[in-house]
Symmetry: C2
Subunit: 141 residues, 2 copies
DNA sequence: ATTTGTGCAAATCGTTTGCATCTGA
DNA sequence: TCAGATGCAAACGATTTGCACAAAT
């Protein structure tokens, strides 16, 4: 049972959100943003979203799915995660957190940020600065 | 400093190592193992190794490169690492350690294991057990 | 009117597979 | 001999690109 929608942001809400980040609220961006953020945290692949869109009668091409996913990621609405080389998942939870990775299924699950504490980190090589620290706990399931 | 190459293991050494893990010491496996482990720790892509082999006059097909890399990984001689979805790197350091990832170049660098301490980990979901914990420190360079 | 976005199909890229042919033990 | 290994080329799956057309401001 998927988390039920206490969701479905209104079109105008989504519209404003898109404008706020500098993206024109086109039909497909509106539709995709609504799909993506209506439910709780998810990890969707481009193909997942493509199928979901079609299932909901939204006419959008795969190329646009990719464009949109990347734009949203660049704007901080999504976070791209990829483990092993099985494509990329886009996490609708863009906040700082880590993941469990089920090796068998290739499935990802969020780990609340405060459930993982890194007590010591090496210093970043000179001339660089830490962009982000990703922790993936691989599970044998 | 990097481990100096007092390297170039003798053929017989490599041969024994391969036999020890149950792989027939064929020409190409011998040659590839020698290339891979002659130098210190490295992160090579299948294509890197392919080119390196050809450059050294070793006749081997790309398919065999992949087969060999995967066999070595399965046997614990190598460790597969992949960040973002830029293909897979095979780390000649198969011990437990983490990585710096230079976002601009896509380059990887080992971080000695004891330079990163994780003081608290969430418990693994029931029915699963932790296979490995990967930490990647992404660097803006 | 301009600028920006979209769709489609072809093109890339890394990796895998099928299968006929070799090779090591 | 013969299971196991290799090479080649075709097949693949995810992602990107080029370009003409459509939509947003």
């Amino acid at each position: 049972m998927t988390k039920q929608k206490s969701n479905t942001l209104s079109d105008s809400e989504v519209q404003q959100r898109l404008r706020a980040i500098g993206l024109r609220p086109t039909r497909q961006r509106l539709a995709l943003a609504t799909l993506l953020f209506a439910q709780g945290d998810r990890h969707v692949s481009a193909d997942d979203l493509f199928k979901e869109a079609r299932a909901n009668g939204i006419a959008v091409s795969l190329a646009t799915i990719y464009n949109t996913l990347h734009e949203f990621t660049a704007k901080g609405l999504l976070r791209a995660v990829s483990v092993d080389s099985l494509g990329t998942y886009f996490d609708t939870n863009a906040s700082d957190h880590h993941h469990f990775f089920f090796e068998r299924s290739g499935h990802l699950q969020d780990i609340p940020k405060n459930n993982v504490h890194i007590s010591s980190l090496p210093q970043a090589p000179k001339g660089t600065k830490v962009s982000r620290v990703d922790v993936v706990i691989r599970l044998k399931d």
